[in-house]
């Protein structure tokens, strides 16, 4: 039933515009995978190629081990949930869900039962006879998912499934999606530009930019060990400082920062998460700095600091009642835990 997807050295473009460059990925059977990237990174194009909308200029796409590269969309058993849901307004909810089963010539009795089952799965069996226009955005999305699940696809493809929902609904729907995926054990690929969405839902993800896969791994792996500047900056906030690794630490703009022992000397970029910097109000710590700006964000205060010759650092301090944010210009000390630093080589 559920199947893995292998993408082998796929390239794709429209005329002179390159959209995907030599993309290779393995999505394992039953896992929840995410394509994460900014708009224009090629993530939606890659998803559409898996569904058969467009053919790679080179490379292969294997679904469940069989080569599907040249297969027409209607001949694949891959379910795509569109960003706009694409529910047909001239059909009822039940007719929408039954459509794929009719095309597969499923006998009427079985069809009706499977339509009902699919709608029960998303909790909408009672709205079978409504038209899409009579449903809320969240309900429409569930119908779109039920319509796709009814054909029992080998792979479920979700194109920005949360982007058309109100902000307040997203976290809940996301949790439901994950729960559904776990229950069905269905290979699922989620396309999103929202790192939080990918982090929360995916077992593993691929970060894409400008048509290339930059890094693949679990959300925590990518966050903790970004392979390059882009991944470090795209997943969460990171201080990225260009400088040089020397025998006594990392030097940049007149300051020295500790790095883990055994780092090879040479030019590099140091990536530091804000929470890796400890703010010491008494001025202690290895690095003296000055507050440029303080933003009160509720649970924590985000400081922009300046150290050495114009090195800007972002640090976060947990906020507790009674603790006044430091004013601009105030001197502070900064301590850096070498275990939390990542060195990026060029």
């Amino acid at each position: 039933m559920s199947a893995g997807v292998e993408i082998e050295r796929v390239s794709f473009g429209y005329g002179a515009t390159r959209v995907l460059e030599d993309v290779s990925l393995t999505i394992r059977k039953g896992e929840f995978f995410a394509f994460l990237g900014p708009s224009g990174s090629g993530k939606t194009t890659l998803l559409r190629l898996i569904a058969g909308f467009g053919m790679p200029d080179s490379g292969r796409i294997l679904i469940g081990g069989r080569d599907a590269t040249r297969q027409a969309p209607w001949a694949r058993n891959v379910g795509l949930v569109f960003q706009s849901y694409a529910l047909w307004p001239h059909m009822t909810v039940a007719q929408n869900v039954a459509f794929g089963l009719e095309r597969r010539r499923v006998p009427r009795a079985e069809r009706e039962q499977r339509v009902k089952a699919a709608l029960e799965l998303v909790g909408l069996a009672h709205l079978m006879d409504r038209r899409p226009a009579q449903l809320s955005g969240g309900q429409q999305q569930r119908v779109a998912i039920a319509r796709t699940l009814a054909i029992e696809p080998e792979v479920l493809l979700l194109d920005e499934p949360l982007s058309n929902l109100d902000a307040g609904l997203r976290a809940g729907v996301r949790a439901e999606l994950v729960e559904l995926q776990r229950r069905l054990g269905l290979t699922t690929i989620l396309v999103t530009h929202d790192q939080e969405e990918a982090n929360a839902a995916a077992d593993r993800m691929a970060v894409l930019d400008e048509g290339r896969v930059l890094q693949v791994g679990s959300p925590a792996e990518l966050y903790d060990h970004p392979a390059n500047r882009f991944v470090a900056g795209f997943l969460g906030t990171a201080n990225l400082i260009d400088g040089e690794v020397t025998s006594d630490g990392f030097r940049a703009g007149g300051i020295a920062l500790p790095v883990h022992a055994g780092a090879t000397p040479g030019r590099a970029t140091l990536a530091l998460r804000p929470q890796a910097l400890s703010l010491l109000r008494d001025g202690a710590g290895s690095l003296p700095a000055r507050v440029v700006r303080a933003e009160f964000l509720g649970g924590h205060v985000r400081y922009t600091l300046e150290a050495g010759q114009g090195i800007r650092l972002i640090a976060e301090e947990p906020h507790l009642r009674g603790l006044q944010p430091l004013p601009p210009g105030a001197p502070v000390g900064v301590a850096v835990d070498p275990a939390q630093t990542t060195l990026l080589r060029h």
């Binding site: 569109f82 694409a86 529910l87 307004p89 001239h90 459509f99 095309r103």
Partner: protein
């Protein structure tokens, strides 16, 4: 809670409900528009209905309708009108549907040609085209003479009802083409891809997804064609087909007299069938405004045509182009012909007909410029007033005013003409002539008939002016009048200019009401002049010359309206980008 506070608390919403939130200026403006609509639309049409249901000694009666359905000529006319209207829809669909599918779904090198095809018939009033079609496709027209010479047979394209269907279908197919193309290209491409993703392809996809989604556009166009053809007087009359409803009503009123009830009975039937057709379409379309229920994605993907597909497309588009151009070429040739009779082409060419119409009957042209210009101006003014009342005030009954003005759409020109004649025939002008047949009334009737288009244009133009633009001016110290003249009107100007030009151009070729109301050549407009000339064989040349002038006028105006609208659109897009 004390007992004394209860009544006043309960009375508050009542007082709020009854307070009229309107200034005296608004009330006055609304009353003036209301008086105009009552006097020249509601009362005349109401009069037609009353006469149709009033017996010889007064009182309500259905006896006239009984007479109608006992008279074989009327029964025949009724079925003929239905048949012609339905067949015109069929023939127009045969032309329009393939063109729309090619245009909206395929990359076709002749796309611009199809777009042109969709406009050409609209600038040619069908009654002008009708005569030219006789000359090209008639019994002794170019095509049949050549067929006879070469193959020994004729095609009876222009015989009787066939001629009306042929001319009407060729004139009105653009309504279906435009509506269907629009709704086909409004279909979100994801709608089709979702079908493919779930296993549908080719014809199944077309049948289950694409066509049902495009149905609203098709029905909107088709019902419009049906109603226009069903109500049309001028085309059958020019083709000498009188056994249809509109010509029968016209003949009864003009030959038997204003007192004869049959003209009114037929008028009522025309209105009722038109309303049923439009209401029926609206009923089917209810809740199916699919365009607004789709979001995201652009239009359907246009796919390249295979060589065979391309060949098929061209072999359809070229003959249609020739058909569509036939009346244009025919009328041009006729206007330049010395003699054109029983021959494929005219015997010789001359400019004499143009000289004749310009020298002997220049009033047809000047009259049209005057009447239609005035009518266009009246439409813009009333349109703006109603739009302003509806969108910017809380005047009670403002929606009703809008509805009343729009209801002119359901009233055939012939019916309005008969109603006006009946209502105002006995009102005398200072010179003793009847007000009903004066040029003033003709102008007013043109204004009433075109008001719905101008009103929609004015409403759209005012909707484009966001309320905050006015509030910004008021916030900076501008009064209501300054705001109106410096902010609102300049921003609406483009839309209003387009509305004026459209009203003018369509009024210039209106003939149904004109035929009923115009009596003297000196007061008559262009469309009446063409009709009168075309009645005699000798007048066909000058009539055609007038026809060419009319076509050119409409073409220039249509182009101007299109340009104005385009300029507005690009201006708005620039502004949109600037603020985005």
């Amino acid at each position: 809670m004390s007992a004394t506070t209860l009544p006043s608390a309960a009375a508050r919403p009542w007082r709020a409900r009854w307070r009229i939130e309107a200034s005296p200026v608004q009330v006055l403006a609304a009353l003036l528009v209301l008086a105009f609509l009552l006097a020249f639309l509601v009362v005349p049409v109401g009069r037609v209905f009353v006469v149709a249901f009033t017996g010889a000694e007064g009182g309500f009666t259905l006896v006239h309708f009984g007479d109608f359905f006992r008279t074989s000529l009327f029964i025949e006319s009724f079925w003929n009108s239905l048949y012609v209207a339905a067949m015109s829809v069929v023939v127009a669909s045969l032309i329009a549907v393939p063109l729309a599918v090619i245009l909206a779904r395929h990359r076709f090198p002749g796309a611009a040609l199809i777009t042109t095809l969709g406009v050409l018939p609209l600038v040619m009033p069908p009654f002008v085209g009708a005569v030219a079609m006789q000359l090209v496709f008639g019994r002794n027209g170019t095509v049949n003479l050549l067929l006879m010479d070469w193959f020994g047979f004729r095609i009876p394209l222009m015989e009787g009802l066939n001629g009306v269907i042929f001319v009407q279908a060729l004139h009105y197919f653009p309504f279906i083409l435009m509506n269907l193309t629009a709704s086909l290209s409004n279909i979100d491409v994801a709608m089709e891809e979702a079908g493919q993703n779930l296993g549908a392809k080719g014809f199944t996809l077309l049948r289950t997804i694409v066509l049902p989604l495009a149905l609203p556009g098709y029905l909107a166009g088709a019902s419009l064609v049906f109603v226009k053809v069903f109500d049309d007087l001028a085309t059958p009359l020019l083709l000498n087909v009188t056994n249809m409803l509109a010509p029968q009503a016209y003949l009864r009123v003009t030959s038997v007299g204003l007192g004869d009830p049959m003209g009114y009975v037929i008028s009522v039937i025309l209105v009722v069938v038109s309303v049923i057709a439009m209401a029926g379409a609206a009923l089917i379309l209810r809740g199916r405004d699919f365009a607004t229920q789709q979001r995201g994605g652009g239009g359907l993907a246009r796919r390249p045509l295979s060589p065979l597909g391309k060949a098929l497309a061209w072999s359809f588009v070229i003959p249609v182009l020739l058909l569509v151009l036939a009346p244009h070429v025919g009328i041009l040739l006729l206007s330049l012909a010395t003699v054109w009779s029983f021959s494929p082409l005219p015997d010789g060419f001359t400019l004499a007909h143009y000289a004749t119409v310009l020298r002997e009957t220049p009033q047809f042209l000047t009259n049209t410029l005057l009447y239609c210009g005035l009518a266009g101006a009246i439409d813009v003014v009333i349109g703006v007033v109603i739009a302003w009342l509806v969108l910017r005030t809380k005047l009670p009954g403002r929606k009703l005013l809008d509805l009343m003005a729009m209801s002119a759409l359901a009233v055939p020109g012939l019916v309005l003409g008969i109603g006006i004649l009946r209502t105002y025939f006995d009102v005398k002008m200072p010179d003793g002539a009847s007000l009903a047949t004066s040029w003033i009334m003709l102008t007013i009737v043109y204004a009433v008939r075109r008001l719905p288009y101008a009103l929609r244009a004015a409403t759209a133009a005012l909707q484009q002016v966001h309320r905050s633009l006015e509030e910004a001016a008021e916030n900076l110290g501008a009064g209501k009048t300054t705001t109106l003249t410096r902010i609102v009107v300049p921003l609406m100007a483009g839309g209003l200019a387009a509305a004026f030009v459209t009203s003018f151009a369509t009024a210039a070729v209106e003939l149904s009401a004109t035929l009923v109301l115009a009596t003297r050549d000196v007061d008559a407009p262009l469309s009446y002049g063409i009709y009168v000339f075309m009645q005699s064989a000798a007048g066909r040349g000058p009539g055609a010359a007038l026809g060419v002038i009319a076509v050119l006028t409409v073409a220039v105006c249509t182009y101007a309206a299109h340009r104005i609208a385009e300029r507005e659109r690009s201006r708005r897009m620039r502004e949109g980008r600037a603020t985005a």
